[in-house]
């Protein structure tokens, strides 16, 4: 009997939109899988590839980066920079043998608690289908 595989997700949520969105999900008693560990960051633009790579190195199965919708950044343009960075990191991780599905970049506003729970649920399900990362 195999033990049920529970993917570990690290979520970097921007303070102004996505963290508030997750908070709203919580206060509204919406439920989402407990697989995610949330790290609050000032802006999705603060998340550097090193943080993502470190998560994978330490055994994360998936990493979620979530910030304000383009155009809504609290710092005007942080998420535009993040978008460029992670568009590239996506394909680079895949190239290194970390499937692109394991990195997710989503724009979640403070009012989108429902959307946040949906994203975490979907992500968890997809990672579970993908199975554990091959060692390395």
């Amino acid at each position: 009997m195999a033990v049920e595989y529970r993917p570990k997700i690290v979520g970097f949520l921007c303070n102004w939109c996505s963290y508030a969105g997750a908070d709203m999900a919580g206060t509204s008693r919406m439920s989402y899988p407990p697989n995610i560990r949330v790290i609050r960051v000032p802006c999705s633009g603060r998340v550097e590839p090193l943080l993502v790579a470190k998560c994978f190195q330490q055994g994360a199965d998936g990493v979620l980066i979530s910030g304000c919708h383009p155009g809504d950044c609290h710092y005007t343009e942080g998420n535009y920079h993040a978008r460029r960075r992670f568009a590239l990191l996506h394909s680079f991780l895949d190239y290194l043998g970390i499937a692109r599905e394991r990195l997710r970049v989503e724009w979640v506003s403070a009012s989108e608690g429902q959307r946040f729970t949906q994203i975490v649920s979907d992500f968890t399900r997809e990672l579970a289908e993908l199975g554990p990362r091959s060692e390395g």
């Binding site: 590839p49 090193l50 470190k54 190195q57 460029r84 590239l88 990191l89 290194l96 043998g97 390395g136």
Partner: protein, 288 residues
């Protein structure tokens, strides 16, 4: 060896030293094997006779400008190397008036190692379209007739097409060989952080362990720090003592940057590198 080209370089170097226009010349001389080249610093007019240029001059000397920021130096650059000068100008690491650039038309360089001179041109030269330096004060040699022979990214496409597990296995094996000598970083003109993340101790991102997981973190992030900045001299791959195919990493990102942002590093000293700018309307495959 093209003796006329060498004569041109030597004459220019001698003039610069004799007139006091520069403190020294960064060029090439014959290595201890009597066969290949090595970097050479000439400070006296009498030393310029040692300057050479031939198909073994693979080193990108631009790295040394970072050590000589406070002295006016002349430097011998191939077209590929000259892109590194633009990179460093763009990033305000060097000053244009502190460098006299002796550019050379490049017929391509061969694979070299100590006491070994390859017969064919390096792979990067076989696809290179840049025959003339992008920045120079003096241009030596004659425009070669040369056309790209090979498919630019065939090896990258091949790698991309592999299943993810095969990619994983490939890199795990190579990164397992890494001894973290940091030669790749030390030779790279784009690597000049006063404190590299790899050696940062507080927090200790990579740490001192020389082991596959740490090595991978090192290599992956170093490559990513060069996005839109790697000028393709491929020095990192050349100096790697354990033959990690680093050009497969750097050129993957070079290709992505070209496709996504239509950008190539070092072609101009002014153009904004891709991570320093953005377009509001671009989607880049990420849903809004």
């Amino acid at each position: 060896m093209d003796s006329e080209l060498i004569q041109q370089i030597q004459n220019q170097a001698r003039d610069l030293l004799e007139s006091g226009a520069v403190k020294g010349i960064i060029g090439y001389e014959r290595a201890s094997d009597g066969l290949t080249a090595r970097p050479f610093f000439a400070y006296e007019p009498s030393a310029v006779e040692r300057l050479i240029f031939d198909e073994t001059c693979t080193h990108n000397l631009v790295k040394y400008l970072l050590d000589k920021k406070n002295e006016k130096m002349a430097i011998v650059v191939k077209p590929c190397d000259s892109r590194a000068i633009n990179l460093l100008l763009n990033e305000e690491q060097i000053k244009r008036d502190m460098v006299f650039i002796i550019g050379v038309y490049c017929p391509g360089v061969v694979e070299t190692a100590w006491n070994r001179k390859g017969q064919t041109q390096q792979a990067r030269c076989q696809t290179c379209e840049l025959l003339k330096p992008v920045v120079y004060d003096f241009l030596a040699g004659q425009e070669p007739v040369r056309r790209p022979e090979a498919e630019l990214y065939s090896d990258i496409l091949e790698m991309e097409a592999k299943p993810v597990a095969a990619k994983r296995a490939f890199w795990v094996e190579h990164f397992g060989h890494c001894i973290r000598c940091y030669a790749c970083r030390q030779v790279c003109p784009g690597c000049y952080c006063p404190e590299c993340f790899a050696e940062q101790l507080d927090p200790s991102w990579v740490g001192i362990r020389i082991a596959p997981k740490e090595n991978e973190l090192w290599q992956a992030i170093r490559t990513f720090h060069l996005v839109g900045r790697c000028i393709g001299c491929n020095e990192c791959e050349r100096v790697c003592p354990v033959d990690i195919p680093l050009s497969l990493l750097n050129r993957k990102l070079e290709k992505e940057v070209k496709e996504l942002f239509a950008f190539e590093a070092g072609l101009s000293p002014e153009e904004q590198p891709p991570f320093a700018t953005f377009k509001k309307e671009e989607k880049l495959g990420l849903e809004e």
